[in-house]
């Protein structure tokens, strides 16, 4: 509903504008409301559709975490309002075990896939690719539109699953069998799990259609002069993200299909010798570990699918706002490449305790720890870019710096986990929760926020409100560390993840106060995100108007389009590119846009 009003409200503004420049605007077609805002094939509109759908999902997914943090922080109290809302799921005002598990599962699924994959890649790949490589649109506007609508379909199915009588899928976002394969095993393994699998199948189709288009567009539709090595790092990052997705999502799809077979056709791909509630099942000869291999072959690349776009945007924003070239452009591209390759070779580090052959495990330890090398290169280059820069602390810049900080903190704990011997102790504890929330969850959210603050003027021709942005930043940064830092201690002490209530454990009683503290901060941070959401929607209509074509003094091509670009992006000819994207602070000039020819006596960088 809100999507419609937002897009509708925007219509008025765009129409006014396009009338102004009708004469010079040769790619303008008269479009109906339906083709312009709903079934749009304009990459900019599709990007906004992804973004707003992603925001709605983020609110839902975030709300779930508030609910289960309420339980973790106050296990001994009852909240009657929960029973009013959720009925049997929260009898007596306490979240039931099943409900708790469903909440964490949906929280993970929604944030990993619907927000940080579709919402992040979908938004910025769609928005930035044509604008930054100098193309009129994606290689196929139609596939692009389909990509959004498959995502929408996946969203509808997943959303519907929240209202099933037996509840949505439960069993963790990794949906390991046999729990996920046997309807009789738990409430969350019933219809909700089928919905989950079907929704994810639609989601995978959406990602693949999108990814194909991104790759094809970047490789084929670059404007004159835009060689691969002149592309902004956002483009490289999105390119590698798409490659990862296109090669790993199909493998998850195969796992999901086999799981659907096991669930509904009585096959035994993942099932063997199981007794459920005293009943001996006929399944023989399957292997549950097989599913984990199929899952993590996607699952690990997936975490980089989430992270790489954020890395790309952060690289760009750091450079623009330090008024300095990005340090080591080729090293940045090379490390993205190395991360992409390694991402396919380390999946078994999620399976160290499954009885994996220790000899095999040693190889996975080695390959996993190798990721630290390209990661360290990136961190070094970001810091060197900042070093003695002429830093402008715009909200986008703050979030980018925050990203670097989070990536360092979370990456370091990865090195602990990557050692199989340490992982035996740490696996499935809050240490892992802390690790991946900092390095993936919060860091990628920071990248996404940075991107939104930085490119909002291009999206809506208005600025976001700065005061709200600064409050949003500081509360989120401080809050994120206060929430996740203590979890490392809990994890080292052995506190297991995905448990509803620890109060019966003598050894974990010491964490009662800490949990209450974490829960309190989590709620504050959640409210700060609502402030962002408010800022976002408010600024679409009422934000300060963008008056200059290139408000950040940036080199890249998107800032050579009109303030409100129409379908086709550039009114006349496509721009021609003469240089890389990072000529900042060169020859005494603050910045030199990519479209400017190389001067006769220009120095080499």
């Amino acid at each position: 509903m809100s999507t419609e009003t937002i897009l509708h409200g925007h219509e008025v503004e765009v129409n006014v504008h396009s009338h102004e420049e009708h004469g010079q605007h040769d790619h303008h077609h008269e479009e109906s409301f339906l083709t312009k805002y709903i079934f749009s094939q304009d990459h900019k509109m599709i990007a906004k559709q992804f973004l707003i759908t992603g925001i709605i999902w983020a609110i839902i997914g975030g709300l779930f975490s508030v609910l289960f943090r309420l339980q973790l922080g106050y296990p001994d109290q009852s909240f009657p309002f929960l029973e009013d809302i959720f009925g049997k799921w929260a009898k007596g005002g306490k979240i039931s075990n099943e409900f708790y598990y469903a909440l964490v599962t949906m929280h993970g699924t929604i944030l990993v896939f619907f927000v940080l994959t579709a919402g992040l890649s979908g938004t910025f790949a769609n928005f930035l690719i044509p604008l930054q490589i100098g193309a009129r649109d994606m290689a196929s506007g139609f596939l692009n539109m389909l990509s959004y609508w498959f995502f929408f379909l996946a969203s509808v199915i997943m959303f519907a699953s929240l209202f099933i009588q037996t509840g949505p899928a439960a069993g963790g976002w990794t949906i390991y069998p046999p729990l996920s394969a046997l309807g009789q095993a738990s409430q969350g393994s019933k219809l909700g799990m089928d919905f989950w699998l079907i929704s994810m199948a639609m989601f995978i189709v959406s990602s693949l259609l999108g990814g194909l288009n991104y790759i094809s567009t970047i490789l084929n539709l670059r404007t004159k002069g835009m060689s691969m090595t002149r592309m902004p790092l956002t483009m490289w990052a999105i390119f590698f993200t798409a490659v990862l997705g296109v090669l790993s999502f199909p493998v998850l799809l195969s796992g999901a299909v086999l799981l659907l077979f096991d669930r509904n056709l009585g096959t035994s791909f993942f099932l063997s010798e199981i007794v459920v509630k005293g009943e001996i099942l006929p399944n023989e000869g399957g292997s549950a570990i097989l599913f984990q291999h199929l899952f993590w072959f996607l699952g690990h690349p997936e975490v980089y699918i989430i992270l790489l776009p954020a890395m790309g945007m952060v690289s760009e924003i750091l450079s623009v706002n330090s008024r300095k070239p990005i340090f080591g452009y080729m090293a940045m591209v090379g490390s993205l490449f190395a991360i992409t390759i390694l991402a396919f070779l380390v999946w078994a580090h999620h399976m160290f305790v499954t009885g994996l052959n220790p000899f095999l495990g040693a190889f996975f330890v080695l390959l996993t720890l190798l990721i630290a090398v390209p990661s360290a290169i990136k961190v070094f280059n970001w810091l060197t870019t900042l070093w003695r820069g002429n830093i402008r602390f715009t909200p986008g810049m703050l979030f980018s710096i925050g990203f670097v900080s989070l990536f360092i903190s979370g990456g370091l704990t990865g090195i602990f986990l990557g050692n199989s011997t340490l992982d035996i102790h740490l696996h499935d504890t809050y240490f892992v929760v802390a690790h991946f929330h900092i390095v993936m969850g919060v860091a990628s959210f920071f990248g996404m926020f940075a991107g939104v603050y930085h490119w909002f003027p291009k999206m809506y021709s208005r600025y976001l409100n700065n005061t709200m942005a600064y409050i949003h930043f500081w509360v989120t940064l401080v809050g994120a560390y206060l929430i996740f830092w203590p979890m490392h201690y809990q994890g080292l002490a052995g506190l297991p993840r995905r448990y509803t209530d620890f109060s019966n454990w003598q050894s974990f009683n010491q964490f009662a106060d800490m949990n209450r503290f974490i829960s309190t901060v989590a709620m504050i941070v959640f409210v700060a995100q609502l402030l962002f959401v408010f800022n976002f929607f408010y600024s679409i209509f009422k934000g300060r108007k963008v008056k200059s074509q290139n408000p950040w003094g940036s080199n890249t091509l998107e800032w050579t389009t009109p303030i409100t670009p129409g379908h086709g992006n550039w009114p006349g000819e496509l721009p021609e590119v003469h240089r890389g994207a990072y000529d900042y602070g060169k020859d005494g000039r603050e910045f030199i846009p990519q479209v400017e020819p190389i001067g006769a006596d220009e120095s080499k960088h």
């Binding site: 193309a135 493998v251 195969s254 086999l258 009585g266 035994s268 023989e284």
Partner: protein
């Protein structure tokens, strides 16, 4: 759409390129499935599967359909429209025959009391079924693409000699064919 494409000169049409990337993606899915099959094969309870005889017939149909789609494309390029349509119809029919022959194969299993799904099924045969039917779905997708092209070729008032849609479909069709050959050899070897 066309204006976007003509803006730049390039060696390979982006839509064709997209198809190649899609092929890579589909390949990964079957790589996942066949490696799962290999993992499974090394475990207990594996049965030596008998490939139904009629699968040889399927193989023959899909192989010949690759020839016919090639002829169809060639005719289109030489603007021999009648032949072009004829070969296209033959290709689609062969595709459907392929799918039907596979279904017959699995129905025959049922008669021999081999369970593919349900209680008492064996994962070896379930794998054969799951992988073949996923491949079959891809063939079906190709058939639908052919139908769409055929309908558009007939119904569009202005004569459209663009070979691009058929070229892309032909690439896909050859791929699905090659994929089946791979799977067929795989099933025969990796019993």
């Amino acid at each position: 759409m066309n204006e976007i494409v003509t803006d730049q000169n390039r060696r390979i049409h982006p839509h064709k390129f997209t198809m190649w990337v899609a092929i890579g993606s589909i390949l990964m899915m079957f790589a996942g499935l066949t490696s799962a099959y290999i993992v499974k094969r090394s475990q207990v309870n594996w049965l030596m599967i008998e490939i139904p005889i009629i699968f040889w017939f399927s193989t023959l149909t899909i192989l010949s359909s690759s020839v016919t789609i090639h002829l169809s494309l060639k005719s289109l390029k030489e603007k021999r429209m009648v032949e072009y349509r004829r070969w296209m119809v033959v290709t689609a029919v062969l595709g459907v025959l392929f799918i039907i022959s596979q279904i017959i194969g699995f129905v025959q299993f049922g008669k021999q009391d081999i369970r593919i799904v349900g209680a008492g099924s064996n994962a070896s045969y379930s794998f054969l079924f799951a992988i073949s039917s996923l491949h079959g779905l891809h063939v079906l997708g190709g058939v639908i693409a052919l139908l769409v092209i055929a309908i558009r070729a007939v119904s569009i008032s202005k004569r459209n000699y663009s070979t691009l849609p058929l070229e892309i479909t032909a690439t896909y069709w050859h791929f699905v064919d090659a994929l089946w050959i791979y799977l067929f050899i795989f099933f025969n070897w990796m019993k």
